[in-house]
């Protein structure tokens, strides 16, 4: 696993900032009524997508969730194309036909946000099978929520990856809730990590607000996968800044106590502190990154707004291949 050097640190901070800004802006625009449909924001969870994808190349695959903007950005998808997609514009990554819940860019190894909770498990297994069959050293990361861990597909997918020793890393984003249902209600097990025992693979619960912790655990798991030693299950404890989707009243969120403390943490600020203390980036450099990121997101919004809506014939296109 590569250490976090200056270059890496900049990429990580920039990526986390991009995600945060993208989501904050999306929140603002959604509230103004310009974006339709269901939008699930990733703000607060940046350390996970970023800490994991820092180890990946375009040749590696990821599967994502309904809360997919963060994974997309961390996997290197074009910000303009993403924003245009959310607006339903012709210039979107999916020509405006997918929307927030289905952003994808296979060329970047991003196999799609997914409107089906748990939909990514078998797809990740298939991509892993492909990697193994073709004898590549590429890996697959399957992001999934705490709620998704109760779908049958979790069980089938992890088991298949285990028996076939596939290069798949299962990254659970445990943000305490599935919609309005807490993880401690929906899971028989106290942790999701302990479910690794059911497949004889390594499982670990870790602080998902801590970029460095995620970076290191993911690095190890991905190395293991590249070496052909099979899958790992990582449970990253985190929290989302916004509601389940835009419009959620969030009545279920804690008003005090440990959960509230978790909610108060800012993974980007924490990473900034780390960078300063390690002497990896200066205050000025950090401010510059923040600045660039804001500008790029603003540009993405302009791009999206200026883009045309899809041609009517697009309705009938892209159904069958050939």
């Amino acid at each position: 696993m590569k250490k976090i050097d200056k270059k890496r640190a900049s990429w990580i901070l920039k990526t986390m900032s991009d995600i945060r800004n993208f989501e904050n802006e999306t929140h603002r625009i959604f509230t103004s009524g310009e974006i339709p449909g269901f939008v699930h924001l990733y703000a607060g969870e940046e350390a996970i997508a970023t800490g994991v994808c820092a180890h990946l190349t375009d040749a590696d695959y990821i599967t994502s969730t309904h809360r997919g903007h963060g994974h997309c950005i961390a996997k290197g998808c074009d910000l303009n194309g993403m924003m245009a997609e959310i607006y339903g514009k012709e210039t979107g990554l999916c020509k405006g036909k997918g929307g927030s819940m289905h952003i994808a860019d296979i060329d970047k190894g991003m196999l799609g946000a997914n409107g089906m909770v748990g939909g990514g498990f078998p797809i990740a297994v298939g991509a892993g099978l492909r990697n193994k069959y073709l004898k590549t050293k590429d890996v697959v990361v399957c992001f999934f929520g705490d709620g998704a861990a109760n779908e049958g597909g979790f069980h089938e997918g992890v088991n298949l990856a285990s028996i076939w020793k596939l290069p798949v890393v299962f990254v659970n984003e445990n943000n305490n809730f599935a919609e309005a249902t807490p993880q401690w209600y929906s899971s028989g097990s106290k942790t999701i990590a302990q479910r690794a025992e059911a497949y004889d693979i390594p499982g670990e619960r870790l602080d998902g607000k801590d970029l460095v912790a995620v970076y290191e655990a993911a690095g190890k798991a991905i190395d293991r996968a590249r070496k052909g030693e099979g899958p790992t299950l990582l449970e990253c404890m985190t929290y989302r800044d916004y509601g389940h989707f835009e419009g959620d009243e969030q009545k279920y969120k804690a008003t005090a106590g440990k959960e509230k403390e978790l909610a108060a943490r800012d993974c980007i600020k924490e990473f900034g502190t780390y960078l300063l203390s390690e002497g990896l980036l200066s205050e000025k450099e950090i401010a510059e990154i923040a600045n660039t990121s804001q500008k790029e997101i603003a540009a993405a919004i302009k791009f999206a707004e200026a883009s045309p809506i899809p041609r009517p014939e697009a309705l009938y296109e892209d159904v069958y291949a050939n």
Partner: protein, 343 residues
């Protein structure tokens, strides 16, 4: 007494009255209450959500978590549990948040629930009502906008109803819950805000009976769910051209009401069916096939189906609007049948 309430409220009220009437009725689904075991909510006996659209709001506070059961995201598990509970004497009403999730739990309906009675030689009954929602128009994109009532309607022993008005929603849901079979109750998510006259008291709308919403003599239009409003718009426009349209709200998609449609076609000789489902192997084509056979001698022209195209539902608003059958398309289609009537 009758009030003007929303489609959503009508459904909520039906659930409430069904639960009051019969202790065996329980609800199951993802966040149909919401916030289970969240301390400050439990203390106030409050539901955090009441379903993703708020349809079941207030039922948990009234009936408790024993009867309004939040489930993990385990569609196969809780839908199958509803089958098991129904087979052993309860009358569960599971909610499948979007009908698009049917692929996760179809086995429990297709291979288990719907076949038990037959396979067991008549010994079992499965009195359960699956509430779900369908339909495009909410920018919910390809995986949350489909219409699969026709797919479910193809399964023997499964009844499927699709209400179009608050009145029918309440009465049909009460009838469904009293029915001893699996009934799929499919709600169009874009109708939740629609208001209409609904009696306060408990009443039932008959499953299997279509409703003539407007009488006419020249052309019959059969509709499913919100397509009713497309047909009514078409009827109004054609009335301006002195063409008299009979509009039939199918209401029950399986088993659908042959008699009412045949009677109408005998009168009008022309039939258009509007179905928001994808165009093949759906309810519209089924009706066209059966009526084409049964009423062949009364038809003045071919039976026409107006459906969604054979594509997934696109996200972009303009494409989604094109996807939905609308008055324009129905008028074009009707024109092929009624050209001779125009003057």
């Amino acid at each position: 007494m009758t009030r003007n309430i929303t489609f959503m409220k009508a459904i909520n009220e039906a659930l409430e009255q069904a639960m009051e009437k019969d202790e065996r009725v329980i609800l199951l689904g993802e966040d149909i209450a919401g916030g289970a075991e969240v301390a400050h909510l439990e203390k106030k006996n409050e539901d955090a959500w009441g379903g993703v659209f708020g349809v079941t709001k207030g039922l948990m506070p009234k009936f408790g978590r024993e009867r309004v059961i939040d489930t993990p995201i385990s569609e196969m598990g809780y839908m199958g549990a509803a089958v098991g509970a129904a087979a052993t004497g309860l009358r569960p009403v599971p909610e499948l948040m979007f009908n698009d999730f049917i692929g996760f739990c179809l086995d429990t309906i297709l291979a288990q629930g719907s076949k038990m009675r037959y396979m067991f030689g008549g010994k079992a009954k499965i009195p359960m009502t699956i509430r779900t929602c369908h339909g495009a128009g909410a920018s919910a994109a390809a995986q949350h906008s489909g219409s699969y009532y026709g797919l479910l309607g193809a399964i023997p022993a499964v009844k499927v109803v699709v209400p179009a008005t608050p009145y029918d929603a309440k009465g049909l849901l009460l009838a469904a819950i009293e029915d001893d079979n699996i009934v799929v109750f499919s709600e169009d998510k874009t109708l939740y805000g629609l208001k209409g006259e609904v009696p306060e008291e408990y009443y039932k709308v008959e499953i299997g009976k279509a409703k003539v919403k407007k009488e006419g003599t020249d052309l019959t239009i059969v509709t499913i769910g919100k397509m009713l409003y497309v047909a009514l718009e078409v009827a109004e426009q054609l009335a301006n051209e002195n063409i008299s349209v009979e509009v039939i709200d199918l209401i029950t998609v399986a088993p659908w009401d042959q008699a009412t449609i045949i009677a109408s076609v005998k009168k009008t000789g022309r039939l258009v069916i509007i179905d928001e489902a994808n165009p093949h192997n759906n309810t519209a084509t089924d009706i066209a096939s059966v009526i084409g056979n049964q009423a062949f001698d009364y038809l003045d022209g071919p039976i026409k189906c107006v459906c969604a195209p054979h594509t997934p539902v696109p996200f972009a608003t303009n494409l989604e609007q094109l996807y939905l059958p609308n008055a324009e398309r129905v008028l074009e289609t009707a024109a092929e049948l009624i050209d001779d009537l125009k003057n």
